[in-house]
């Protein structure tokens, strides 16, 4: 793979991939690093490198999570609770990073995975459906349901000024 393109992928997607891998395992950086190295070793560059990276990270992170559970009898979501997912925003009108991290960590995994992949990874619902093994419509429904739950947990009002009950 072209080193410039690989550098661009690292700059653009490394934090998002770490956030994605954090849902399953406690050492997401190692998983993401392995995925990038695996991508560099490919003789033919994949058509959609970002989707390829997300798939590689997901598979490796799930495998790592199983190993961790076997070793320490821990649940995967403990890792998600452990760290702050987002950097605190300097914008006062922006969302609270801590609240967003807390709300995201309590979401069901199937909703959280889709939200992270779509919002910060930029994957389409078709690509996410291909990744998770469902349909694009199902992914979209889970996405909207997850967003509504997040907004409710964070106490953010909708544009019409009323809280949405989920």
């Amino acid at each position: 793979m072209d080193p410039d393109h690989l550098g661009y992928l690292i700059d653009r997607y490394l934090p998002a991939l770490v956030l994605y891998a954090r849902q399953w395992c406690r050492a997401p950086e190692d998983v993401v690093q392995e995925a990038f190295i695996k991508l560099a070793k490919q003789t033919e560059s994949p058509v959609y490198p970002v989707a390829w990276l997300y798939r590689a990270v997901r598979n490796r992170a799930i495998s790592e999570s199983r190993s961790e559970r076997r070793r320490q009898n821990h649940e995967g979501r403990v890792a998600a609770n452990a760290a702050l997912c987002f950097t605190p925003s300097e914008d006062q009108a922006g969302l609270d990073a801590q609240a967003a991290s807390d709300a995201l960590s309590v979401l069901p995994l199937e909703q959280r995975e889709i939200i992270v992949a779509h919002l910060w990874g930029g994957l389409t619902f078709e690509q996410i459906a291909d990744l998770t093994g469902g349909s694009a419509a199902t992914c979209w429904r889970r996405y909207t349901a997850g967003l509504a739950t997040l907004r409710h947990k964070m106490g953010v009002q909708c544009p019409t000024g009323k809280m949405i009950k989920t």
Partner: protein, 188 residues
């Protein structure tokens, strides 16, 4: 239809929240970009075959060469001793027995005359001999020739046969005594 509209309404309501959420930057990874690029390049540069493959192959061939060289050095040169032996060679078989069977076209079959035909042929020949002794050589059958000449000869022989002339009627008088001419008398 109403469900779809509700979905669209919910989505449009959630869009500003999603945009605001998207603005939150994920925590930076505790990974050095340069180190990651270096590791990726190193991994891409390493051959797919394991690092142990070539050394082990070279070691195997070196061991094989050593063993073969040891065999070559330890073995004495072979001593050739002439030994007289009586060898009984079987007589070669007949060519027709050993020769492979080859399909050859069969020669045309010649029909053997039956004994009755042979007897009749012999009788004809004897009759012809008797006729020749009695009537002369003209009784011999004419050789088969082409054209109308043969038919004329046949008619002539048939005519002679009908006339029943004695043998030697048409013979040349070369052996008969003749009267001497005048020149012969003068010479004498």
């Amino acid at each position: 239809m109403s469900d779809r509209q509700d979905d669209q309404n919910v989505a449009s309501d959630l869009t500003p929240f999603a945009e605001a959420l998207k603005k939150l930057a994920p925590q930076p990874a505790h990974l050095s970009r340069d180190a990651l690029l270096f590791e990726a390049g190193k991994a891409a540069g390493t051959p797919r075959l394991g690092g142990w493959a070539w050394p082990s192959t070279a070691a195997a061939f070196a061991g094989l060469s050593f063993v073969l060289g040891a065999f070559l050095l330890s073995s004495d040169p072979p001593i050739v001793q002439p030994v007289d032996r009586v060898v009984y060679v079987p007589q070669p078989a007949a060519p027709h027995a050993t020769a492979p069977h080859i399909d050859q076209p069969e020669p045309p079959k010649v029909e053997k005359p039956s004994p009755s035909m042979e007897r009749s042929e012999t009788a004809k020949a004897l009759q012809m001999r008797r006729d020749v002794y009695r009537w002369g050589i003209d009784m011999l059958p004419e050789p088969k020739t082409e054209g109308g000449r043969s038919s004329q000869d046949m008619e002539a022989s048939r005519l002679r046969h009908w006339l029943d002339l004695p043998a030697g009627t048409y013979a040349l008088p070369g052996t008969l005594p003749k009267k001497p001419t005048k020149n012969e008398e003068d010479d004498e």
